[in-house]
Amino acid sequence: MKILEVKNVEKIYGTGETAVKALRRVNFSAKQGEFIALVGQSGSGKSTLLNLIGGLDIPSKGEIYIRDHNVAALKKKELTIFRRRNIGFVFQNYSLMPVMNVYDNVALPVTFDRGRRVDHQYIEDILKELGLWKKRTKYPAELSGGEQQRVAIARALANKPAILLADEPTGNLDSVTTQDVMGLLKASGEKYHQTILMVTHNEALAQSCDRVLCMKDGQLSGEEGTLS
């Protein structure tokens, strides 16, 4: 089942002579449960594409469909609500709330939906699965980089999103932790049938994904291959 479709997406920063085309006519789609790696050199437009899909930015042209909703056409408030219900983010710098402990960081996005009850059993399951249960009262600053990234993954999963967008999630981690995090992402994707789109510089990691999309100068230059 097609869960994501990107159609002729363009992104231009600035205007006139200073205009920079960050993305040019990007087209691709993703199925439910697919784990896609997005690779390319710095400045090739990977993160820009990820941000557009995540609704953190608006495309200059084109359409992005997630579960048949055109993200680019949604109003700001609708987009925000759509994002928190359907998309999970994992950032390279973890982006955890420093003033909250692990448990509250994970539960935070759920509480934005008024009237929605926090599924504590589910959060407990995730934290246990990610090996964080014993550290649930710790604060981000008290955790290692790998642990913080696991918290970020747990938080991304808390809302049971359809798509998980990960922007270089292992960029700040050592190789052992990187493997752990990759394993977790894969396992989570399989367990919850989530589509994962991961930006990475690491070719080896990319090769372990279902599909690899290669970007160059703001365009998808082709698919390097799939494992499954």
Partner: protein, 893 residues
């Protein structure tokens, strides 16, 4: 140092916005400090000029023989630098009948010093000529025409000059100015001295006394001027402290009151308070500016900068801006103050005109009358405030730089680079288990994350409101005090007073005249007061303040009034057994006045009917210099025996209360109530300053029943609002013309003037609190902006996680409201504490009457509303910047 200055210069020019914020903070704060300083200083100068008009432009006077007078003149010639003017007054004679008239000669300098210049005609040259002031002319019922024949004491004189009315403390005295060759009774001449005001007066007076071998006791001081110009010295400072600490109670009050009188504590306190406020604002703005670029200092530390070098950079930066901002602040503050002063000049002039050394006091009404006619002087720039502010700021801001430098140095380089400057113990509580609204938790956590900033914002928010409430509290009570003082001074704050200017009890205003006065068109009410003099015997254990009176104190520096001693055998006497005999003024009031007297009630209760039925009295008790009333062990229900002359028409010696018992009769009364002040006071016998003399008050009917007093000593008269003051005054003068020794005093307009001043004062102080609020707001906005924008990363995460804009605004609004609530709680807590301190100062240092007023709940609610409004606005404004920003950029901050 050169490198530090260079770096500071680069910082200042690069971070323009932050530099401007600090600059603005400095300019506004300095403007407030120096502006208010100049206003207070100008007010002091104006008060001095006013006192000069009231008490005369002289510093000391003494009675001296002709030989001593010659020496004084020689001293003046030799020591021109010290003694600048000498005025001579010679009392030629004092006539007691039919009016108390003083015939005197005054030279030109004396007349100028006392402000009694000739307004019309000329000064008398021959023995047959006299000059009179308008007060005397009015009370003698003359037409005030030059050349008019004036019959005084059986002799006819020609009125050759009319003098300007004297703002004299002893305004009840009628003075007849005569020529130099007018026959005299050999009374020593009185020399009025004026020293160089550019220098402190005490050393000059000290030199004068020592060189001429004059006893200091003979020198009478114009304390209103000398207090201001004398110059408190360190000796006096330590003496006040020593005396204060040696007191069994009321040490602090004594020290505060003495410092206020001798060292201008109030004015200096205002400057110090404002100086500290300025430092707080500048520190806060500068500190935030440093925090914003703390990572720069991290880089500098990696390059090896030392703590002293950080201090040098910070001080060079701050003082560089201060050097530019200080003059501009002074200019802005003083220009604004000058404009304000031209609009509200009298707000800063003291209302109390002090007490003369000779014991004669100008009551409040008289003081307000002076205010009404007094043209306040020019605006003066206070060099003291500018210098004091400068020195205070330099010292405290150096300390601020040292503190910030120390704080920066204690942080690790990584902390600075990552801007991680907070490190606190954390709660392990999982909030999401108990609350489904984590944004509320976040709000609280964000607020309390930087406790220093949190507290400083709360303080800033609370400060403006708190000052406003304190001002309101003092204003409300000042209004009450003024109204009550007015009443106690004149009886019901009356526009006119008709009174017997005589120390003979037999002189009275007939009952019929009082009734006729009440019927004069334009008169709203006339309150007659009857009077009698008495003596109360008290047991030794009933007098708790056994050194309260000069007669009891046994202090060589404080001698009893010789006139009172001679005519009345003193106010208080202690016999061999240790028991006391106290003179007391006995007043009879009508029902209206008794009702008004309830404002001064300390203990007990009464009503005119029960006073009459029970033949009970109201006791006017003693008050000490600190506003306490516990000098006598007497309470409602106790009985008192009063000894009075057997009739008002007795020889003067009977009033010494030493004659045979047949001259007196004794009456016993029960005390129904105790009050703090009397009304319609009598100053003609033992005197009544309203505080330190005992009094018994009853109904006029009781006065008649007990003592046979049927006439009145004084009538307090109120006119109808629309009635012409001049017409009423003329009718009153006409009505009392034939009553021996009866005088009229006209206070028309004084009450309105006083209320207008109070209102002006209130507006002004509200304005100042508003200004402080504005400066605080500048600080609040600056701090809030930093606080909100420093959380840009966290807000970016929240937005990425799916918080809507409205949800975000709600969260921020909650934070703003919480700030408002906390600030209001802090404000109320500080206000309630400050209220107690103010109450203490009002009662004990300023001796306010009945400071029972409080700020209305509406005003408190209004101030809380302003707090909420300011705090939410301060949070919402920078929040808009966050919402407008790009989420990705915010996350990557």
């Amino acid at each position: 140092m050169k490198a530090a200055v260079k770096l500071a210069f680069q910082n200042v020019t690069y971070y323009k916005k932050q530099t401007f914020a600090i600059f603005l903070g400095i300019v506004l704060s300095i403007a407030l400090l120096t502006g208010i300083g100049s206003l207070v200083y100008s007010g002091e100068r104006s008060s001095l000029e006013k006192d000069r008009q009231v008490y005369g432009d002289w510093h000391y006077y003494l009675y001296a023989s002709d030989e001593q007078g010659k020496m004084i003149r020689e001293y003046g010639e030799d020591r021109e630098g010290d003694l600048q003017e000498i005025g001579v007054m010679e009392k030629k004679s004092v006539e007691e009948e039919p009016y108390k008239l003083t015939f005197l000669y005054g030279d030109t300098q004396y007349l100028a010093m006392l402000g009694q210049e000739i307004e019309e005609g000329r000064y008398p040259k021959s023995r047959e000529e006299v000059a009179l002031d308008t007060y005397t002319i009015t009370n003698l019922g003359l037409d005030a025409e030059l050349g008019e024949a004036v019959e005084l004491n059986g002799k006819v004189y020609t009125l050759c000059g009319i003098l300007k009315n004297q703002w004299s403390a002893d305004v009840g005295e009628m003075r007849v100015f005569v020529s130099k060759n007018f026959p005299g009774e050999g009374i020593p001449k009185c020399y009025y001295l004026k020293f160089d005001e550019e220098r402190k007066l005490y050393p000059q007076a000290d030199r004068f006394i020592k060189e001429l071998h004059i006893s200091a006791e003979h020198m009478r001081t114009n304390s209103a001027l000398v207090e201001y110009l004398g110059g408190g010295n360190m000796q006096l400072f330590f003496s006040i402290l020593k005396t204060g600490f040696s007191l069994p109670e009321g040490r602090l009050t004594y020290i505060l009151a003495s410092m206020k009188e001798n060292f201008h504590l109030q004015e200096k306190g205002i400057l110090l308070g404002l100086g500290l406020f300025c430092v707080f604002i500048i520190y806060s703005v500068f500190h935030i500016s440093v925090l914003k670029r703390i990572s720069q200092y991290g880089i500098l530390q990696t390059l090896g900068i030392s703590q002293s070098q950080i201090f040098q950079v910070l001080s060079a930066e701050l003082f560089g801006i201060l050097i530019l901002g200080y003059p501009l602040g002074c200019l802005l503050g003083n220009s604004t103050a000058k404009v304000l002063y031209s609009k509200f000049d009298k707000v800063f002039v003291r209302e109390d005109t002090g007490t003369m050394q000779n014991g004669v006091h100008v009551g409040n009404t008289e003081a307000f009358k002076v205010n009404a006619s007094f043209e306040s002087g020019d605006f003066y720039v206070s060099r003291y405030a500018i210098c004091f502010g400068g020195v205070l700021l330099v010292i405290l801001l150096l300390a601020v730089c040292l503190k910030i430098a120390g704080r920066i140095y204690r942080l690790t380089v990584m902390q600075m680079l990552k801007k991680e400057i907070k490190n606190r113990g954390r709660s392990r509580k999982i909030h999401s288990i108990h609350s489904s609204r984590l944004t509320g938790v976040l709000t609280r956590k964000f607020m309390l994350f930087g406790r220093g900033t949190f507290i400083s914002i709360l303080c800033s928010l609370a400060l403006g409101g708190c000052i406003f409430l304190c001002c309101s509290y003092v204003t409300v009570n000042t209004q009450i005090h003024n109204e009550l003082s007015f009443k106690t001074d004149d009886g019901l704050g009356s526009e006119y007073q008709v009174f017997e200017e005589s120390d003979n009890l037999a002189y009275m205003i007939p009952k019929k005249t009082a009734e006729e006065i009440a019927m004069i068109p334009g008169i709203a009410a006339a309150y007659p007061v009857s009077y009698y003099l008495g003596e109360i015997p008290l047991e030794k254990n009933q007098v708790l303040w056994d050194k309260y009176c000069a007669e009891l104190a046994d202090d060589p520096g404080w001698k009893p009034d010789p006139m009172v001693m001679e005519k009345y055998n003193g106010r208080c006497l202690r016999d061999e057994s240790g028991n006391y005999r106290m003179k007391c003024n006995i007043y009879g009031y009508d029902d209206g006045m008794l009702e008004e007297l309830k404002d001064y009630l300390l203990e007990g209760h009464y009503d005119p009917k029960s006073l009459l039925e029970d033949n009970a009295v109201i006791l006017k008790t003693w008050m000490d210099g600190q506003g306490n009333y516990g000098g006598l062990d007497l309470k409602p229900g106790d009985t008192l025996t009063v000894k009075v002359p057997e009739s008002p028409d007795v020889p003067d010696t009977v009033l010494r209360f030493l004659e045979e018992d047949s001259w007196y009769e004794k009456k016993e009364f029960t005390i129904a109530a105790i009050v703090s002040r009397p009304m319609g006071k009598n100053d003609q016998l033992i005197g009544d300053d309203g505080t330190s003399d005992l009094g018994l008050i009853m109904t006029n009917a009781q006065m008649e029943e007990n003592f046979g007093i049927v006439g009145y000593n004084r009538i307090c008269i109120q006119k109808e609002k629309q009635a012409s003051g001049e017409d009423v005054g003329r009718a009153l003068a006409q009505k009392i013309k034939d009553i021996p020794k009866c005088m009229l005093q006209d206070y028309t307009g004084a009450i309105e003037t006083q209320n207008a001043y109070l209102q002006q004062k209130m507006y002004f102080f509200y304005g100042i609190s508003l200004l402080i609020l504005v400066i605080s707001m500048f600080h609040i906005m600056n701090s809030m902006q930093y606080l909100v924008l420093s959380r840009r990363h966290e807000f970016g995460i929240l937005r990425a996680m799916g918080i809507t804009d409205s949800g975000f605004y709600k969260m921020m609004l909650r934070e703003g409201i919480l700030y408002g609530i906390f600030a209001s709680l802090l404000m109320l807590a500080v206000y309630l504490t400050a209220k107690q301190v103010l109450l203490y100062l009002m009662v004990h240092v300023y001796r306010y009457l009945q400071p029972t007023g409080s700020v209305s709940p509406g005003i408190i609610a209004g101030v809380i509303g302003v707090n909420l409004l300011v705090s939410t606005a301060a949070v919402i404004l920078p929040s808009r910047e966050i919402v407008k920003g790009n989420i990705i950029q915010e996350i990557n901050e």
